[in-house]
Protein backbone atom coordinates (compact mmCIF):
# COMPACT_ATOMS: atom_id res chain seq x y z
CA UNK A 1 0.00 0.00 0.00
CA UNK A 2 2.91 2.30 0.70
CA UNK A 3 5.03 3.59 -2.12
CA UNK A 4 8.07 4.64 -0.09
CA UNK A 5 11.02 2.26 -0.40
CA UNK A 6 11.39 -0.12 2.47
CA UNK A 7 14.25 0.23 4.95
CA UNK A 8 13.95 -3.26 6.27
CA UNK A 9 13.33 -6.42 4.31
CA UNK A 10 13.45 -10.06 5.35
CA UNK A 11 16.81 -11.66 4.60
CA UNK A 12 17.02 -12.85 0.97
CA UNK A 13 13.59 -11.51 -0.01
CA UNK A 14 13.19 -8.90 -2.74
CA UNK A 15 11.10 -5.78 -2.20
CA UNK A 16 8.62 -6.80 -4.89
CA UNK A 17 8.21 -10.32 -3.49
CA UNK A 18 7.68 -8.87 -0.05
CA UNK A 19 5.06 -6.42 -1.34
CA UNK A 20 3.27 -9.24 -3.06
CA UNK A 21 3.30 -11.34 0.10
CA UNK A 22 1.96 -8.44 2.17
CA UNK A 23 -0.86 -7.97 -0.33
CA UNK A 24 -1.76 -11.65 0.02
CA UNK A 25 -1.58 -11.43 3.83
CA UNK A 26 -3.77 -8.30 3.86
CA UNK A 27 -6.38 -10.30 2.00
CA UNK A 28 -6.30 -12.89 4.78
CA UNK A 29 -6.41 -10.71 7.90
CA UNK A 30 -7.66 -7.36 6.62
CA UNK A 31 -5.49 -4.38 5.69
CA UNK A 32 -5.70 -2.76 9.11
CA UNK A 33 -4.00 -5.76 10.69
CA UNK A 34 -0.85 -5.56 8.60
CA UNK A 35 1.61 -2.75 9.30
CA UNK A 36 4.84 -2.10 7.44
CA UNK A 37 5.57 1.59 8.02
CA UNK A 38 8.32 2.69 10.39
CA UNK A 39 6.00 4.65 12.68
CA UNK A 40 3.50 1.84 13.01
CA UNK A 41 6.31 -0.64 13.67
CA UNK A 42 7.90 1.44 16.43
CA UNK A 43 6.25 -0.47 19.31
CA UNK A 44 7.70 -3.72 17.94
CA UNK A 45 11.21 -2.34 18.07
CA UNK A 46 11.49 -1.09 21.66
CA UNK A 47 14.13 -3.29 23.21
CA UNK A 48 16.17 -3.29 26.40
CA UNK A 49 19.15 -5.27 25.07
CA UNK A 50 22.59 -3.76 24.58
CA UNK A 51 22.51 -3.79 20.80
CA UNK A 52 21.25 -1.16 18.35
CA UNK A 53 17.50 -1.20 17.66
CA UNK A 54 18.26 -1.72 13.96
CA UNK A 55 19.70 -5.16 14.67
CA UNK A 56 16.21 -6.34 15.67
CA UNK A 57 14.05 -4.19 13.41
CA UNK A 58 11.00 -5.98 11.96
CA UNK A 59 10.08 -5.64 8.29
CA UNK A 60 6.37 -5.69 9.04
CA UNK A 61 3.85 -6.99 11.54
CA UNK A 62 0.73 -9.05 11.00
CA UNK A 63 -1.98 -9.51 13.62
CA UNK A 64 -4.08 -12.58 12.90
CA UNK A 65 -7.13 -13.38 14.97
CA UNK A 66 -7.57 -17.10 14.36
CA UNK A 67 -5.80 -20.38 13.74
CA UNK A 68 -7.29 -20.46 10.25
CA UNK A 69 -5.75 -17.10 9.44
CA UNK A 70 -2.37 -18.30 10.72
CA UNK A 71 -2.62 -21.41 8.55
CA UNK A 72 -3.34 -19.29 5.49
CA UNK A 73 -0.48 -16.91 6.32
CA UNK A 74 1.97 -19.83 6.63
CA UNK A 75 1.16 -20.83 3.04
CA UNK A 76 2.07 -17.35 1.81
CA UNK A 77 5.26 -17.24 3.88
CA UNK A 78 6.37 -20.64 2.56
CA UNK A 79 5.68 -19.52 -0.99
CA UNK A 80 7.91 -16.46 -0.60
CA UNK A 81 10.36 -17.92 1.98
CA UNK A 82 9.62 -15.11 4.41
CA UNK A 83 10.81 -15.62 8.01
CA UNK A 84 8.18 -14.91 10.67
CA UNK A 85 8.64 -14.15 14.35
CA UNK A 86 5.58 -15.06 16.43
CA UNK A 87 4.94 -13.19 19.69
CA UNK A 88 2.19 -13.63 22.25
CA UNK A 89 2.01 -10.60 24.54
CA UNK A 90 5.49 -9.40 23.49
CA UNK A 91 6.37 -8.42 27.04
CA UNK A 92 9.41 -10.62 27.50
CA UNK A 93 11.20 -7.48 28.65
CA UNK A 94 14.95 -7.84 28.96
CA UNK A 95 14.80 -11.05 26.92
CA UNK A 96 13.88 -9.46 23.58
CA UNK A 97 10.39 -7.93 24.05
CA UNK A 98 8.34 -7.93 20.81
CA UNK A 99 11.31 -7.53 18.44
CA UNK A 100 12.35 -10.37 16.13
CA UNK A 101 15.48 -12.39 16.82
CA UNK A 102 16.89 -11.36 13.42
CA UNK A 103 16.48 -8.09 11.57
CA UNK A 104 13.86 -8.19 8.83
CA UNK A 105 11.70 -10.97 10.20
CA UNK A 106 7.96 -10.40 9.92
CA UNK A 107 6.43 -10.21 13.39
CA UNK A 108 3.30 -12.30 13.85
CA UNK A 109 1.55 -10.57 16.75
CA UNK A 110 -0.92 -12.96 18.41
CA UNK A 111 -2.10 -10.50 21.04
CA UNK A 112 -5.56 -10.19 19.45
CA UNK A 113 -6.11 -13.88 20.09
CA UNK A 114 -6.98 -13.26 23.72
CA UNK A 115 -9.77 -15.70 24.44
CA UNK A 116 -10.01 -17.64 27.68
CA UNK A 117 -11.51 -20.69 26.02
CA UNK A 118 -12.25 -22.83 29.03
CA UNK A 119 -11.97 -22.79 32.79
CA UNK A 120 -12.93 -26.02 34.53
CA UNK A 121 -13.57 -25.14 38.15
CA UNK A 122 -13.77 -28.78 39.27
CA UNK A 123 -10.56 -29.96 37.68
CA UNK A 124 -8.85 -26.57 38.16
CA UNK A 125 -7.65 -26.19 34.59
CA UNK A 126 -7.75 -23.48 31.95
CA UNK A 127 -7.27 -23.32 28.20
CA UNK A 128 -6.01 -20.00 26.89
CA UNK A 129 -4.86 -18.28 23.72
CA UNK A 130 -1.52 -16.46 23.26
CA UNK A 131 -2.92 -12.95 23.79
CA UNK A 132 -4.48 -13.62 27.21
CA UNK A 133 -2.71 -11.66 29.94
CA UNK A 134 -2.38 -12.72 33.56
CA UNK A 135 -4.36 -9.64 34.57
CA UNK A 136 -7.16 -10.66 32.21
CA UNK A 137 -7.21 -14.18 33.66
CA UNK A 138 -7.12 -12.75 37.18
CA UNK A 139 -10.07 -10.44 36.45
CA UNK A 140 -11.96 -13.31 34.87
CA UNK A 141 -11.53 -15.57 37.91
CA UNK A 142 -12.48 -12.72 40.23
CA UNK A 143 -15.60 -11.85 38.24
CA UNK A 144 -16.73 -15.46 38.21
CA UNK A 145 -15.87 -15.75 41.91
CA UNK A 146 -13.79 -18.83 41.23
CA UNK A 147 -11.42 -19.67 44.09
CA UNK A 148 -8.54 -20.51 41.75
CA UNK A 149 -5.00 -19.14 41.69
CA UNK A 150 -2.27 -19.20 39.05
CA UNK A 151 1.43 -18.48 39.15
CA UNK A 152 2.74 -15.44 37.30
CA UNK A 153 6.06 -13.72 36.69
CA UNK A 154 6.78 -10.14 37.80
CA UNK A 155 5.48 -8.30 34.66
CA UNK A 156 2.18 -10.14 35.11
CA UNK A 157 -0.23 -7.29 34.41
CA UNK A 158 0.88 -6.99 30.79
CA UNK A 159 2.48 -10.42 30.14
CA UNK A 160 0.60 -13.68 29.62
CA UNK A 161 0.68 -17.35 30.57
CA UNK A 162 1.14 -18.88 27.11
CA UNK A 163 4.17 -16.86 26.08
CA UNK A 164 5.76 -17.18 29.49
CA UNK A 165 5.31 -20.95 29.52
CA UNK A 166 6.64 -21.29 25.98
CA UNK A 167 9.77 -19.42 27.06
CA UNK A 168 9.89 -21.62 30.20
CA UNK A 169 9.46 -18.72 32.58
CA UNK A 170 8.93 -19.07 36.29
CA UNK A 171 6.69 -17.58 38.95
CA UNK A 172 6.29 -17.57 42.70
CA UNK A 173 3.42 -19.81 43.82
CA UNK A 174 3.58 -23.60 44.29
CA UNK A 175 2.88 -23.74 40.52
CA UNK A 176 5.90 -21.55 39.82
CA UNK A 177 7.65 -23.84 37.31
CA UNK A 178 5.21 -22.89 34.57
CA UNK A 179 5.98 -25.48 31.90
CA UNK A 180 5.61 -28.21 34.53
CA UNK A 181 2.08 -26.99 35.21
CA UNK A 182 0.99 -26.73 31.59
CA UNK A 183 -1.09 -29.49 30.05
CA UNK A 184 -1.54 -29.64 26.32
CA UNK A 185 -0.68 -27.30 23.47
CA UNK A 186 -2.14 -26.54 20.07
CA UNK A 187 0.55 -25.76 17.54
CA UNK A 188 0.36 -24.51 13.95
CA UNK A 189 3.30 -26.08 12.14
CA UNK A 190 5.25 -24.43 9.35
CA UNK A 191 3.23 -26.23 6.68
CA UNK A 192 -0.03 -25.07 8.24
CA UNK A 193 -0.88 -28.41 9.85
CA UNK A 194 -2.40 -28.08 13.34
CA UNK A 195 -1.01 -30.38 16.04
CA UNK A 196 -2.58 -30.84 19.44
CA UNK A 197 -0.11 -32.39 21.85
CA UNK A 198 -0.75 -35.11 24.45
CA UNK A 199 -4.36 -36.27 24.71
CA UNK A 200 -5.42 -33.43 22.41
CA UNK A 201 -4.41 -35.49 19.37
CA UNK A 202 -7.24 -37.94 19.92
CA UNK A 203 -10.62 -37.06 18.37
CA UNK A 204 -13.28 -36.67 21.04
CA UNK A 205 -10.84 -36.75 23.97
CA UNK A 206 -11.78 -34.67 27.02
CA UNK A 207 -8.53 -35.27 28.91
CA UNK A 208 -6.26 -32.80 27.06
CA UNK A 209 -5.94 -30.47 30.05
CA UNK A 210 -5.67 -33.17 32.71
CA UNK A 211 -3.12 -35.70 31.38
CA UNK A 212 0.02 -34.30 29.88
CA UNK A 213 1.64 -37.25 28.18
CA UNK A 214 -0.68 -38.94 25.68
CA UNK A 215 0.79 -41.92 23.84
CA UNK A 216 4.24 -42.16 22.34
CA UNK A 217 6.79 -39.37 22.59
CA UNK A 218 5.65 -36.32 24.53
CA UNK A 219 6.20 -33.49 22.09
CA UNK A 220 5.37 -30.43 24.18
CA UNK A 221 8.98 -29.74 25.13
CA UNK A 222 10.16 -29.19 21.57
CA UNK A 223 7.76 -26.27 21.19
CA UNK A 224 9.28 -24.40 24.14
CA UNK A 225 12.32 -22.14 23.59
CA UNK A 226 12.31 -23.15 19.95
CA UNK A 227 10.96 -22.36 16.49
CA UNK A 228 9.25 -25.57 15.42
CA UNK A 229 5.73 -24.25 15.47
CA UNK A 230 3.40 -21.45 16.53
CA UNK A 231 1.66 -22.24 19.79
CA UNK A 232 -1.96 -21.10 19.55
CA UNK A 233 -3.52 -22.68 22.64
CA UNK A 234 -2.19 -23.84 25.97
CA UNK A 235 -3.74 -25.81 28.79
CA UNK A 236 -2.67 -24.82 32.28
CA UNK A 237 -3.35 -26.07 35.76
CA UNK A 238 -4.83 -23.72 38.31
CA UNK A 239 -4.34 -24.03 42.03
CA UNK A 240 -7.29 -24.15 44.44
CA UNK A 241 -7.07 -21.04 46.61
CA UNK A 242 -5.84 -22.33 49.97
CA UNK A 243 -8.00 -21.64 53.04
CA UNK A 244 -4.92 -20.17 54.71
CA UNK A 245 -2.03 -18.28 53.06
CA UNK A 246 0.94 -17.22 55.16
CA UNK A 247 3.60 -15.29 53.31
CA UNK A 248 6.79 -14.36 55.10
CA UNK A 249 10.15 -12.69 54.72
CA UNK A 250 13.34 -13.73 56.50
CA UNK A 251 16.18 -11.20 56.39
CA UNK A 252 19.85 -12.10 56.81
CA UNK A 253 22.63 -9.59 57.46
CA UNK A 254 25.65 -10.99 55.55
CA UNK A 255 26.36 -11.97 51.94
CA UNK A 256 27.94 -15.22 53.17
CA UNK A 257 24.68 -16.16 54.93
CA UNK A 258 23.43 -17.47 51.57
CA UNK A 259 25.17 -20.81 52.25
CA UNK A 260 23.26 -21.56 55.43
CA UNK A 261 20.01 -20.17 54.02
CA UNK A 262 20.07 -22.49 51.03
CA UNK A 263 21.17 -25.51 53.02
CA UNK A 264 18.45 -24.91 55.62
CA UNK A 265 15.65 -24.25 53.13
CA UNK A 266 16.45 -26.93 50.54
CA UNK A 267 15.11 -29.85 52.62
CA UNK A 268 11.91 -27.91 53.35
CA UNK A 269 11.44 -27.15 49.66
CA UNK A 270 12.17 -30.69 48.46
CA UNK A 271 9.79 -32.11 51.06
CA UNK A 272 7.24 -29.42 50.12
CA UNK A 273 6.87 -28.03 53.62
CA UNK A 274 7.50 -24.82 51.71
CA UNK A 275 5.63 -25.57 48.48
CA UNK A 276 6.38 -22.43 46.49
CA UNK A 277 9.38 -21.09 44.61
CA UNK A 278 11.37 -19.47 47.42
CA UNK A 279 13.07 -16.24 46.40
CA UNK A 280 16.33 -15.16 47.95
CA UNK A 281 16.76 -11.54 46.88
CA UNK A 282 19.95 -9.56 47.37
CA UNK A 283 19.98 -6.05 48.86
CA UNK A 284 20.21 -4.32 45.51
CA UNK A 285 17.07 -6.07 44.26
CA UNK A 286 15.17 -4.88 47.32
CA UNK A 287 16.60 -1.37 47.33
CA UNK A 288 15.11 -0.06 44.06
CA UNK A 289 11.79 -1.67 44.96
CA UNK A 290 11.96 0.20 48.30
CA UNK A 291 12.53 3.47 46.40
CA UNK A 292 16.15 3.83 47.43
CA UNK A 293 17.78 6.34 45.09
CA UNK A 294 21.13 4.99 43.86
CA UNK A 295 22.63 8.44 43.37
CA UNK A 296 22.20 9.18 47.08
CA UNK A 297 24.67 6.40 47.83
CA UNK A 298 26.81 6.34 44.74
CA UNK A 299 26.81 9.59 42.77
CA UNK A 300 29.79 8.73 40.55
CA UNK A 301 30.35 6.28 37.72
CA UNK A 302 31.13 2.57 38.12
CA UNK A 303 29.73 -0.12 40.37
CA UNK A 304 28.37 0.74 43.78
CA UNK A 305 30.79 -0.01 46.65
CA UNK A 306 30.26 -2.66 49.32
CA UNK A 307 30.29 0.11 51.94
CA UNK A 308 27.44 1.92 50.18
CA UNK A 309 25.45 -1.32 50.02
CA UNK A 310 26.02 -1.80 53.77
CA UNK A 311 24.74 1.70 54.41
CA UNK A 312 21.62 1.06 52.30
CA UNK A 313 20.90 -2.05 54.38
CA UNK A 314 21.21 -0.09 57.59
CA UNK A 315 19.26 2.97 56.46
CA UNK A 316 16.37 1.02 54.96
CA UNK A 317 16.21 -2.13 57.12
CA UNK A 318 17.08 -4.47 54.27
CA UNK A 319 18.82 -7.79 54.54
CA UNK A 320 21.92 -8.76 52.60
CA UNK A 321 19.61 -11.57 51.59
CA UNK A 322 15.86 -11.33 51.79
CA UNK A 323 14.08 -14.66 51.68
CA UNK A 324 10.47 -14.73 50.49
CA UNK A 325 8.31 -17.83 50.79
CA UNK A 326 4.85 -18.81 51.98
CA UNK A 327 2.79 -21.55 53.52
CA UNK A 328 -0.35 -22.65 51.71
CA UNK A 329 -2.83 -24.91 53.49
CA UNK A 330 -5.41 -25.04 56.21
CA UNK A 331 -4.98 -22.99 59.39
CA UNK A 332 -4.09 -26.24 61.18
CA UNK A 333 -1.42 -27.47 58.73
CA UNK A 334 0.04 -23.98 58.43
CA UNK A 335 0.18 -23.61 62.20
CA UNK A 336 2.14 -26.83 62.42
CA UNK A 337 4.52 -25.90 59.60
CA UNK A 338 4.91 -22.37 60.92
CA UNK A 339 6.76 -23.75 63.95
CA UNK A 340 9.31 -25.26 61.57
CA UNK A 341 9.76 -21.90 59.80
CA UNK A 342 10.28 -20.14 63.14
CA UNK A 343 12.83 -22.72 64.19
CA UNK A 344 14.74 -22.47 60.90
CA UNK A 345 14.77 -18.66 61.04
CA UNK A 346 16.02 -18.69 64.65
CA UNK A 347 18.63 -21.39 64.03
CA UNK A 348 20.08 -19.56 61.03
CA UNK A 349 20.07 -16.09 62.55
CA UNK A 350 17.37 -14.64 60.31
CA UNK A 351 14.80 -12.01 61.18
CA UNK A 352 11.29 -13.21 60.43
CA UNK A 353 8.79 -10.69 59.06
CA UNK A 354 5.18 -11.57 58.39
CA UNK A 355 3.25 -8.35 58.09
CA UNK A 356 4.02 -6.63 54.80
CA UNK A 357 2.63 -3.24 55.76
CA UNK A 358 3.93 -2.94 59.32
CA UNK A 359 7.46 -4.22 59.10
CA UNK A 360 8.27 -4.82 55.48
CA UNK A 361 8.11 -2.12 52.85
CA UNK A 362 6.73 -1.77 49.36
CA UNK A 363 9.06 -4.50 48.11
CA UNK A 364 7.54 -6.90 50.62
CA UNK A 365 4.02 -6.03 49.51
CA UNK A 366 4.55 -6.80 45.83
CA UNK A 367 6.32 -10.05 46.74
CA UNK A 368 3.48 -11.13 49.02
CA UNK A 369 1.06 -10.40 46.16
CA UNK A 370 3.14 -12.31 43.61
CA UNK A 371 3.29 -15.39 45.87
CA UNK A 372 -0.51 -15.62 45.67
CA UNK A 373 -0.56 -14.91 41.94
CA UNK A 374 -1.94 -11.40 42.20
CA UNK A 375 -0.62 -9.45 39.20
CA UNK A 376 1.26 -6.20 39.76
CA UNK A 377 4.20 -4.30 38.29
CA UNK A 378 6.03 -3.53 41.53
CA UNK A 379 9.24 -5.06 40.30
CA UNK A 380 9.57 -2.56 37.46
CA UNK A 381 11.10 -0.32 40.12
CA UNK A 382 14.31 -2.17 39.24
CA UNK A 383 14.45 -0.10 36.07
CA UNK A 384 14.78 3.09 38.09
CA UNK A 385 18.03 1.89 39.69
CA UNK A 386 20.31 2.91 36.84
CA UNK A 387 17.62 4.43 34.63
CA UNK A 388 17.79 4.62 30.88
CA UNK A 389 15.88 1.49 30.00
CA UNK A 390 18.73 -1.01 29.66
CA UNK A 391 18.13 -4.45 31.14
CA UNK A 392 19.38 -7.92 30.29
CA UNK A 393 18.66 -10.93 32.47
CA UNK A 394 21.64 -13.16 33.07
CA UNK A 395 20.14 -16.27 34.59
CA UNK A 396 22.42 -19.25 35.20
CA UNK A 397 21.06 -22.39 36.80
CA UNK A 398 22.64 -23.50 40.05
CA UNK A 399 22.33 -26.53 42.26
CA UNK A 400 20.36 -25.75 45.41
CA UNK A 401 23.51 -26.02 47.53
CA UNK A 402 24.88 -23.19 49.62
CA UNK A 403 28.48 -23.45 48.46
CA UNK A 404 27.39 -23.25 44.81
CA UNK A 405 25.22 -20.19 45.28
CA UNK A 406 27.94 -18.21 47.05
CA UNK A 407 30.44 -19.13 44.35
CA UNK A 408 28.07 -17.98 41.59
CA UNK A 409 27.21 -14.77 43.40
CA UNK A 410 30.88 -13.84 43.82
CA UNK A 411 31.73 -14.68 40.22
CA UNK A 412 28.86 -12.56 38.92
CA UNK A 413 29.57 -9.64 41.24
CA UNK A 414 33.25 -9.49 40.25
CA UNK A 415 32.53 -9.55 36.52
CA UNK A 416 29.75 -6.96 36.79
CA UNK A 417 31.95 -4.64 38.86
CA UNK A 418 34.74 -4.88 36.29
CA UNK A 419 32.41 -3.23 33.76
CA UNK A 420 30.93 -0.77 36.25
CA UNK A 421 27.65 -2.57 36.95
CA UNK A 422 25.99 -3.54 40.21
CA UNK A 423 25.08 -7.02 41.37
CA UNK A 424 21.26 -6.93 41.30
CA UNK A 425 20.45 -10.57 41.78
CA UNK A 426 18.12 -13.12 43.30
CA UNK A 427 17.89 -16.87 43.51
CA UNK A 428 14.56 -18.51 42.69
CA UNK A 429 14.45 -21.95 44.25
CA UNK A 430 13.07 -24.69 42.06
CA UNK A 431 12.74 -28.15 43.52
CA UNK A 432 16.42 -29.00 43.42
CA UNK A 433 17.84 -26.20 41.34
CA UNK A 434 18.01 -22.47 41.69
CA UNK A 435 17.49 -19.98 38.92
CA UNK A 436 20.13 -17.39 39.70
CA UNK A 437 18.52 -14.34 38.10
CA UNK A 438 20.68 -11.25 37.67
CA UNK A 439 19.42 -8.04 36.13
CA UNK A 440 22.23 -6.38 34.21
CA UNK A 441 20.92 -2.83 34.46
CA UNK A 442 22.47 -0.04 32.40
CA UNK A 443 21.61 3.21 30.69
CA UNK A 444 20.68 2.43 27.12
CA UNK A 445 20.94 6.08 26.10
CA UNK A 446 24.66 6.04 27.01
CA UNK A 447 26.69 4.53 24.16
CA UNK A 448 29.61 3.68 26.44
CA UNK A 449 27.39 1.80 28.89
CA UNK A 450 25.74 -0.03 25.99
CA UNK A 451 29.12 -1.30 24.84
CA UNK A 452 30.17 -2.26 28.33
CA UNK A 453 26.87 -4.02 29.06
CA UNK A 454 27.23 -6.11 25.93
CA UNK A 455 30.81 -7.07 26.76
CA UNK A 456 29.85 -7.75 30.38
CA UNK A 457 27.03 -10.10 29.41
CA UNK A 458 29.38 -11.91 27.08
CA UNK A 459 31.98 -12.38 29.79
CA UNK A 460 29.36 -13.53 32.30
CA UNK A 461 28.11 -16.08 29.80
CA UNK A 462 31.55 -17.43 28.87
CA UNK A 463 32.94 -17.44 32.43
CA UNK A 464 29.95 -19.26 33.81
CA UNK A 465 30.01 -21.75 30.93
CA UNK A 466 33.67 -22.53 31.68
CA UNK A 467 32.56 -23.52 35.19
CA UNK A 468 29.80 -25.68 33.72
CA UNK A 469 26.99 -23.24 34.50
CA UNK A 470 24.40 -22.72 31.76
CA UNK A 471 21.63 -20.13 31.59
CA UNK A 472 17.98 -21.23 31.61
CA UNK A 473 16.85 -18.53 29.20
CA UNK A 474 18.47 -15.61 27.44
CA UNK A 475 17.79 -12.51 25.38
CA UNK A 476 17.55 -12.86 21.62
CA UNK A 477 20.77 -10.91 20.92
CA UNK A 478 22.75 -13.67 22.65
CA UNK A 479 20.72 -16.65 21.41
CA UNK A 480 23.48 -17.99 19.20
CA UNK A 481 26.19 -17.64 21.84
CA UNK A 482 24.08 -19.25 24.54
CA UNK A 483 23.15 -22.16 22.28
CA UNK A 484 26.87 -22.69 21.61
CA UNK A 485 27.54 -23.20 25.33
CA UNK A 486 25.36 -26.31 25.28
CA UNK A 487 27.59 -28.26 22.90
CA UNK A 488 27.39 -29.47 19.28
CA UNK A 489 25.32 -32.66 19.48
CA UNK A 490 22.22 -31.01 20.89
CA UNK A 491 22.47 -28.32 18.24
CA UNK A 492 22.79 -30.87 15.48
CA UNK A 493 19.64 -32.66 16.64
CA UNK A 494 17.83 -29.35 16.82
CA UNK A 495 18.89 -28.53 13.25
CA UNK A 496 17.71 -31.92 12.02
CA UNK A 497 14.35 -31.37 13.66
CA UNK A 498 14.18 -27.95 12.05
CA UNK A 499 14.84 -29.42 8.60
CA UNK A 500 12.09 -31.98 9.14
CA UNK A 501 9.44 -29.64 10.52
CA UNK A 502 10.25 -26.37 8.77
CA UNK A 503 12.27 -27.11 5.63
CA UNK A 504 11.99 -23.53 4.37
CA UNK A 505 13.33 -22.21 7.69
CA UNK A 506 10.53 -19.69 7.99
CA UNK A 507 9.58 -19.82 11.68
CA UNK A 508 11.88 -17.54 13.68
CA UNK A 509 15.21 -18.78 12.33
CA UNK A 510 17.88 -18.02 14.93
CA UNK A 511 15.51 -18.30 17.88
CA UNK A 512 17.49 -20.06 20.64
CA UNK A 513 20.21 -20.54 18.04
CA UNK A 514 18.13 -22.91 15.92
CA UNK A 515 18.30 -22.52 12.15
CA UNK A 516 18.97 -24.61 9.07
Amino acid sequence: MTTTPRNVLPKGVSASDFEQALTQIRAIVGAEYVVAEDTALAPYNKIMMAVPDEQHAPSAAVMPDSVEQIQAIMKVLNQHRIPVYPISTGKNLGYGSAAPVERGQLVMDLRRMNRILDVDAELCTALVEPGVTYQQLYDYLQEKKLPLWFSCPAPSVIAGPLGNMVDRGVGYTPYGEHFLFSSGMEVVLADGEVLRTGMGSMPGSNTWQVFKWGYGPTLDGIFTQSNYGIVTKMGMWLMPAPPDYRPFLIQYPEDTDITKIVDALRPLRIAMVIPNAVVIAHTLWEAPCTKVNRADYHPGPGAISDEAVQKIRKDHNLGAWNVYAALYGTPETNAANWKIIEQVAAATGGTLITDSTEQGGRATQYRFDLMKGKPNLGEFDLYNWRGGGGSMWFAPVSQAKGSETLKQMRMAKDILAKYGFDYVGEFIVGWRDMHHVIDLLYDRSDAEQMKKAHACFDELLQSFAREGYGVYRANTAFAEKVAATYGPVKRDVERRLKRALDPNNIIAPGRCGISI
Partner: protein
Protein backbone atom coordinates in the same frame (compact mmCIF):
# COMPACT_ATOMS: atom_id res chain seq x y z
CA UNK B 1 -13.79 -25.94 50.30
CA UNK B 2 -16.51 -27.07 47.91
CA UNK B 3 -15.36 -26.48 44.35
CA UNK B 4 -17.71 -24.71 42.03
CA UNK B 5 -19.55 -27.41 40.12
CA UNK B 6 -20.23 -25.32 37.10
CA UNK B 7 -18.14 -26.02 34.08
CA UNK B 8 -17.51 -22.68 32.49
CA UNK B 9 -17.31 -22.55 28.76
CA UNK B 10 -16.72 -19.03 27.65
CA UNK B 11 -18.23 -17.93 24.39
CA UNK B 12 -15.11 -17.10 22.48
CA UNK B 13 -16.42 -13.73 21.34
CA UNK B 14 -16.96 -12.33 24.80
CA UNK B 15 -13.32 -11.74 25.60
CA UNK B 16 -12.40 -11.13 22.00
CA UNK B 17 -14.39 -7.94 22.32
CA UNK B 18 -12.28 -6.73 25.22
CA UNK B 19 -10.28 -4.51 22.89
CA UNK B 20 -13.43 -2.87 21.60
CA UNK B 21 -14.75 -2.32 25.09
CA UNK B 22 -11.58 -0.42 25.90
CA UNK B 23 -12.54 2.17 23.34
CA UNK B 24 -15.75 3.19 25.10
CA UNK B 25 -15.76 6.72 26.47
CA UNK B 26 -15.83 6.72 30.26
CA UNK B 27 -18.03 9.11 32.20
CA UNK B 28 -16.04 12.20 33.13
CA UNK B 29 -15.43 11.25 36.75
CA UNK B 30 -14.74 7.60 36.09
CA UNK B 31 -11.29 6.16 35.72
CA UNK B 32 -10.36 5.39 32.13
CA UNK B 33 -10.38 1.64 31.68
CA UNK B 34 -6.98 1.47 29.99
CA UNK B 35 -5.51 3.64 32.72
CA UNK B 36 -7.01 1.42 35.40
CA UNK B 37 -5.91 -1.83 33.76
CA UNK B 38 -2.46 -0.86 32.45
CA UNK B 39 -0.97 2.58 33.12
CA UNK B 40 -2.04 2.88 36.75
CA UNK B 41 -0.03 -0.17 37.83
CA UNK B 42 3.14 1.91 37.43
CA UNK B 43 2.03 5.53 37.27
CA UNK B 44 -0.24 5.39 40.33
CA UNK B 45 2.23 3.37 42.36
CA UNK B 46 5.31 5.51 42.17
CA UNK B 47 7.09 3.07 39.83
CA UNK B 48 6.77 5.41 36.88
CA UNK B 49 6.28 9.16 37.31
CA UNK B 50 2.81 10.45 38.13
CA UNK B 51 1.13 11.61 34.91
CA UNK B 52 -2.28 12.77 36.13
CA UNK B 53 -3.05 16.43 36.64
CA UNK B 54 -0.02 17.60 34.65
CA UNK B 55 -1.84 18.62 31.50
CA UNK B 56 0.49 16.46 29.41
CA UNK B 57 -0.34 16.95 25.72
CA UNK B 58 -2.42 14.20 24.12
CA UNK B 59 0.02 13.78 21.22
CA UNK B 60 2.93 13.43 23.63
CA UNK B 61 1.15 10.72 25.62
CA UNK B 62 0.23 8.81 22.46
CA UNK B 63 3.80 9.01 21.24
CA UNK B 64 5.26 7.71 24.50
CA UNK B 65 2.78 4.83 24.63
CA UNK B 66 3.61 3.69 21.09
CA UNK B 67 7.39 4.21 21.25
CA UNK B 68 8.06 3.51 24.90
CA UNK B 69 10.34 5.85 26.77
CA UNK B 70 13.58 4.79 28.42
CA UNK B 71 12.41 2.11 30.90
CA UNK B 72 8.75 2.35 29.90
CA UNK B 73 7.74 -0.41 27.50
CA UNK B 74 5.97 0.42 24.25
CA UNK B 75 2.38 -0.71 23.72
CA UNK B 76 1.14 -2.00 20.38
CA UNK B 77 -2.26 -1.41 18.80
CA UNK B 78 -3.10 -5.05 19.59
CA UNK B 79 -2.75 -4.20 23.29
CA UNK B 80 -4.22 -0.70 23.33
CA UNK B 81 -6.01 0.03 20.09
CA UNK B 82 -6.04 3.50 18.54
CA UNK B 83 -9.46 4.40 19.90
CA UNK B 84 -8.53 3.26 23.42
CA UNK B 85 -5.24 5.16 23.18
CA UNK B 86 -7.01 8.35 22.10
CA UNK B 87 -9.42 7.92 24.99
CA UNK B 88 -6.80 7.31 27.68
CA UNK B 89 -4.53 10.07 26.37
CA UNK B 90 -7.40 12.56 26.49
CA UNK B 91 -8.43 11.37 29.94
CA UNK B 92 -4.89 11.62 31.34
CA UNK B 93 -4.34 14.99 29.70
CA UNK B 94 -7.54 16.44 31.13
CA UNK B 95 -7.31 14.80 34.56
CA UNK B 96 -7.52 17.25 37.43
CA UNK B 97 -4.59 17.48 39.82
CA UNK B 98 -5.33 15.33 42.85
CA UNK B 99 -3.36 15.77 46.03
CA UNK B 100 -1.67 12.40 45.51
CA UNK B 101 -0.84 13.07 41.87
CA UNK B 102 0.52 16.55 42.45
CA UNK B 103 2.57 15.31 45.42
CA UNK B 104 4.35 12.70 43.30
CA UNK B 105 4.62 15.03 40.33
CA UNK B 106 6.60 17.50 42.38
CA UNK B 107 8.73 14.81 44.02
CA UNK B 108 12.33 14.58 42.80
CA UNK B 109 12.33 13.17 39.30
CA UNK B 110 13.26 9.52 39.14
CA UNK B 111 15.67 8.44 36.40
CA UNK B 112 12.64 7.21 34.47
CA UNK B 113 10.87 10.56 34.55
CA UNK B 114 10.05 12.00 31.14
CA UNK B 115 12.03 15.16 31.89
CA UNK B 116 15.21 13.30 31.01
CA UNK B 117 16.58 13.03 27.50
CA UNK B 118 14.83 10.86 24.95
CA UNK B 119 16.49 7.87 23.39
Amino acid sequence: MQPNKTRILVASLVLGCAQLALAADPPAQERDRTYAKVCGFCHDKGVGPAILGRELPVAYIENVVRHGFRAMPSFRSTEIDNAALASVARWVSQSPATSAASASATAPASPAAPATKAQ
